[in-house]
């Protein structure tokens, strides 16, 4: 459908300008890549009176490392991240997830920040950012604040951004040596939304971080699973006990994309496979970080 309602279109050049516009126009929708916002406008899923396009804001497209922190600007696309040597060095599981997002054309437009601002339960950036313990940097009427990704996702399509606030970047403390993995269940080889997403980080000393996407109202960490795994190899945990912990952690829905039972089954299998891959990668082996070919 065409966009059937009118809205004002604003294009600030600086963060203060953007904040002023957001302050003047309550309920304004921020536009970056537009791969979610434009279809939502077409479908009447959102009907903002104002759209604030941030593509002119200088410096928003940067990926850089300073003081032990990797910073991803709000205009960094998934393709930018895939092409970034810095990202490949420090956050390979996030790059791996980036490869699975939609298609080349969408990845050339869609931003990492936009992905978590849309906050759909299946967002591919969510689980890796959770295991990398990233934070969302925000500017707003009350100044600047930093929101841990653990506290970012509040519900389907709902996140912690307050009225008038703008995301100015994502920060990730450099994780050091690790093996990472993002496994995504798609129904076919065409571009698809995750039916299940699993991110695993294996850190030295048998320390594991585990996050799931698409099997609950928000992407989430699974601390009970992490505790069970701590101190042992990925194969040391009793498989049945691990499966039971997965079942407790997830709350998958039943829809046209997959049944609740199948999502549950896949969450178990994919966790096992992701743990094995991440642990092997920590040791310098394992499968090469995956590349999506579309």
């Amino acid at each position: 459908m065409t966009i059937a309602h009118d809205f004002a279109y604003l294009r600030p050049a600086t963060v203060p300008d953007a904040l002023a516009m957001l302050a003047d126009h309550r309920g304004a929708m921020v536009l970056a890549g537009g791969t979610d916002v434009v279809p939502w406008l077409r479908d009447d899923a959102i009907t903002p009176e104002t759209v604030v396009d941030i593509k002119d804001i200088a410096g928003f497209d940067a990926i850089d490392v300073a003081d032990g922190v990797l910073r991803i600007g709000p205009l960094v696309t998934f393709s930018d991240l895939i092409a970034s040597p810095v990202a490949a060095e420090h956050v390979p599981a996030l790059v791996e997830a980036s490869h699975t997002v939609a298609s080349v054309g969408v990845r050339n437009r869609a931003t990492v920040v936009g992905n978590i601002c849309s906050a759909v339960p299946s967002c591919d950036a969510g689980p890796p950012l959770l295991v990398y313990e990233a934070a969302v940097e925000v500017a707003g009427p009350g100044g600047e604040r930093s929101i841990p990704v653990l506290e970012w996702f509040l519900g389907p399509r709902t996140q912690a951004l307050a009225e008038g606030e703008l995301v100015t970047g994502i920060t990730i403390p450099l994780p050091g040596a690790h093996g990472g993995c993002y496994a995504k269940l798609s129904r076919y080889r065409g571009e698809d939304l995750a039916q299940v997403g699993v991110a695993v980080l294996a850190l030295p000393g048998n320390d594991y971080r585990v996050a799931f996407g698409a099997v609950g109202p928000v992407p989430f960490r699974a601390p009970a699973i992490e505790e069970r795994l701590a101190g042992g190899g990925p194969g040391d945990a009793d498989p049945a006990a691990l499966d039971a912990l997965v079942d407790e952690a997830i709350s998958p829905i039943d829809d046209v994309r997959a049944s609740k039972e199948y999502r549950t089954h896949m969450s178990r299998v994919m966790l096992r496979r992701s743990l094995a891959a991440a642990a092997a990668r920590l040791d310098g082996g394992g499968p090469p970080y995956g590349e999506q070919v579309i």
Binding site: T2, T100, Y188, V256, A258, H265
Partner: protein, 744 residues
């Protein structure tokens, strides 16, 4: 490729004739984006139309208030059932579908009102603003319940042979197939232009402009000549354009406003607007002697027709007539029922009833082979029909080529692909999200055979008109047949070239006022029907040109004798124009008896498919590695385009096997988008190797047979058989879902 001599051309060889693969005239413009599809239509001052559709599977319409829509600036019309000037209903065989809802809506997405406005945005806003008050009613959506209530469009009972014949080896099975969408890439679109004298010209993408015309002028309440339909560029069809969608609506809006009106459906609306392939429920019982001779088949088929009849009567007939495959059998008893429910209407889709039953009878053949301890290919060969045999369902003696055994043997003899995937993750099942590794994979191979009739059946007066005219520059072929992307335009050129020796052939698609009907571009019929008309007309043109020149051979330069031009085309035309109009008919068919007996079909074509799949049984993910095929094609007129038909049909079959299904809950479609109605992409496409079996048909031009539908008939059955082989699971429903494979 096997080659059998066919009808001998009477002229010298000509570039771009039959048996070669010349470029299609619309190919490069389509690749370059320069071809005008129906969505590209434009007329100065045109308005845009939009449709108000029912959100309920069934509801009473309490009131329709157009005022809020008409209050929007730029809105010119809101029309309802009251505004239909002529016949209030439409439909192909039975006019049972309201042009606009008649006080009750009977399926989700049924058109209730149409609007016209200055632009597409305003039209969409206006459609949303039309205030319709509904009282939802209980919807009948279960086909089994519909059968119990007697809510049916047609019941077939095809009976043949000794009803007491029994076999020692018996297998029974119950099978289902889902609702499948044609998913043509060009959505429904058209432009209606009023002529200022009460008439209208409609430019639209459709499969049969003359059938559309019959329904159109009646509902507009105008004389036939006052409504003219012109084909516009068609982006695929596969049956979805056989029934009317927006044709009458556009013309009503144009005549009401006095302005040209354009409408283009978006994808979600397209899913609601056109008919789909019938979902099916099928019970089968096969009985055989211990040596593998099939002796009795009983089947009961329920195809859900949805809310309106469209072509359900013919689809269920095909299901019943072709219910047991291309095999001998002494005794047959098939019941076929097309139910009427409040699901979206189902009708034509490539294969037209033969696809569903093939999925079931080929699963039964594998099951029977296992019960007999026989090789499944040997079982099929043992029972294969041949030309001259009687079809065990209808009793018709098969005329023309019907090389079932050769198709099976040729396919079975093809080499299998190398075993197992290597390390390349692109060749593993599922997406590339690290879900599968090579060690998890099991390979399976499946085989299936299917067949179907060509052209219209059951005594329908099926014909095609074409006109061929000699011009100083070559030949002009005029036809109303729909080029839907399949390549008919090239085949008509090739036929005219080979018939006349003239290379320069222009094919013009003309309107309903300019020529008689070519019949529908469906039932795999146009190569044989319009191709047959063009062949006869071109031969007559050639003969007249040669008569005028006193004999010789014809070419683009003129009439040749001993290699020398003795008369140019202009010389030949000095006496007057040479033009031939031919109305071509295939051999007549009869109406069925009460038990479905008779010479009901004009000809048949058979194909077989062998699928190779890799499956991760733990995850339920499948990759279709390769699908090979052998097909009975009569004569390959354009080998490259023909293989393209086979590949495309196979891909549709793969889609139905492992991913495509319109999910309908309580009559409401839940996945009307390409996000959730999955189509195989190029990355999901298997490799295809094809063998063309060329035994000449008894009436097709140069022995050619229509080739469009057989590729979709048995490809689904073969893929699912391969998944059964890989997993050992008794998969009885298509599409197969990952849950079914993983057993969760």
């Amino acid at each position: 490729m096997t080659t059998t001599p066919t009808a001998v051309p009477t002229t010298t060889a000509v570039a771009g004739g039959i048996g070669t693969s010349p470029l299609r005239p619309d190919g490069i413009p389509k690749v370059r984006g320069e071809f005008a599809f129906s969505g590209d239509l434009h007329e100065e001052g045109m308005l845009w139309g939009a449709t108000v559709r029912s959100p309920h599977a069934r509801a009473r319409i309490l009131s329709i208030d157009p005022a809020p829509a008409l209050a929007i600036p730029g809105v010119h019309a809101v029309l309802t059932q009251d505004d239909v000037p002529g016949r209030k209903t439409c439909g192909q065989a039975v006019k049972d579908q309201p042009v606009l809802a008649d006080g009750e809506t009977r399926f989700w997405g049924e058109p209730v009102a149409v609007v016209a406005a200055d632009d597409a945005e305003t039209a969409a806003r206006a459609a949303a603003a039309v205030a319709v008050r509904y009282e939802p009613l209980d919807a009948l959506t279960d086909p089994g319940e519909a059968e119990r209530q007697g809510s049916v469009f047609r019941t077939m009972h095809v009976v043949n042979g000794d009803p007491d014949r029994r076999g020692e080896v018996v297998v029974e099975g119950y099978y289902e197939t889902g609702t499948i969408d044609q998913a043509m890439l060009g959505t429904e679109a058209g432009l209606a232009v009023p002529d200022g004298e009460g008439g209208v010209d409609l430019y639209v993408a459709t499969q049969w402009i003359h059938e559309d015309h019959e329904q159109l002028y009646a509902s507009l309440g105008v004389e036939p000549g006052a409504a003219r339909i012109h084909l516009s560029g068609i982006g695929g069809a596969f049956g979805a354009r056989e029934d009317l969608t927006l044709q009458i609506h556009l013309c009503m809006l144009a005549l009401h406003t006095g302005r040209p009106v354009k409408m283009v459906l978006d994808r979600a609306e397209s899913f609601a607007a056109h008919v789909h392939r019938h979902p099916s429920r099928m019970w089968y019982r096969h009985e055989a002697d211990p040596d593998g001779t099939l002796v009795r088949v009983e089947a009961k088929l329920i195809f859900d027709g949805g809310a309106y009849q469209t072509t359900s009567h013919a689809v269920i007939a095909n299901g019943a007539y072709f219910a047991m495959g291309p095999y001998h059998c002494e005794s047959v008893d098939v019941v076929g029922i097309a139910t009427r429910t409040n699901n979206p209407p189902n009708g034509a889709m490539r294969g037209f009833g033969a696809v569903q039953v093939c999925f079931a009878y080929e699963a039964q053949m594998d099951k029977l082979a296992a019960a007999l301890g026989m090789d499944p290919i040997d079982l099929r060969l043992r029972n294969a029909l041949d030309a001259g045999d009687r079809l065990p369902t209808t009793g018709q003696v098969i005329e023309g080529a019907f090389p079932v055994a050769e198709v099976i043997r040729s396919l079975a003899a093809m080499p299998l692909p190398d075993a197992g995937p290597g390390g390349d993750p692109r060749h593993l099942p599922g997406g590339a999200g690290l879900t599968t590794t090579a060690a998890d994979i099991r390979r399976g191979v499946g085989f299936a055979v299917g067949f179907k009739n060509i052209a219209f059946a059951e005594s329908f007066d099926d014909y095609a008109e074409a006109r061929v005219t000699l011009t100083p520059d070559g030949l002009l072929v005029e036809t109303a047949a729909a080029e839907v992307g399949q390549g008919m335009v090239t085949v008509l050129q090739q036929i005219a070239r080979t018939a006349t020796g003239i290379e320069q052939v222009e094919v013009a698609f003309v309107d309903t006022a300019a020529i008689g009907s070519a019949g529908s571009t469906s039932a795999s019929r146009q190569t044989q029907m319009t191709g047959g008309a063009v062949l006869e007309a071109a031969e007559a043109v050639r003969d007249e040109a040669l008569r005028r020149a006193g004999g010789g051979t014809l070419s683009g330069e003129g009439v040749l004798r001993d290699g020398v031009v003795v008369a140019t085309l202009a010389d030949v035309l000095a006496e007057g124009p040479i033009t031939e109009l031919v109305r071509f008919r295939h051999p007549p068919t009869t109406a069925p008896s009460e038990t479905g007996q008779g010479d009901l079909h004009a000809g048949f074509s058979v194909a077989a498919h062998r699928a190779v799949v890799d499956v991760d049984p733990d995850l339920g993910l499948v990759r279709v590695v390769q699908v090979d095929t052998a097909q009975d094609v009569g004569k390959a007129l354009h080998p490259a385009a023909l293989v393209g038909q086979l590949e495309g049909g196979i891909l549709q079959g793969v889609g139905m096997a492992v991913m495509e299904e319109l999910r309908i809950d309580d009559g409401v479609v839940r996945n009307a988008s390409f996000t959730d109605y999955l189509l195989p992409t190029i990355l999901d496409a298997p490799d295809v190797e094809a063998v063309l079996i060329e035994e000449p048909d008894h009436w097709g031009p140069f022995g050619a047979k229509g080739v469009g539908e057989p590729p979709t008939i048995s490809s689904t059955a073969a893929v699912v058989a391969a998944i059964r082989d890989a997993t050992g699971r008794d998969l009885t429903r298509a599409p197969v879902r990952p849950e079914d494979v993983a057993g969760v």
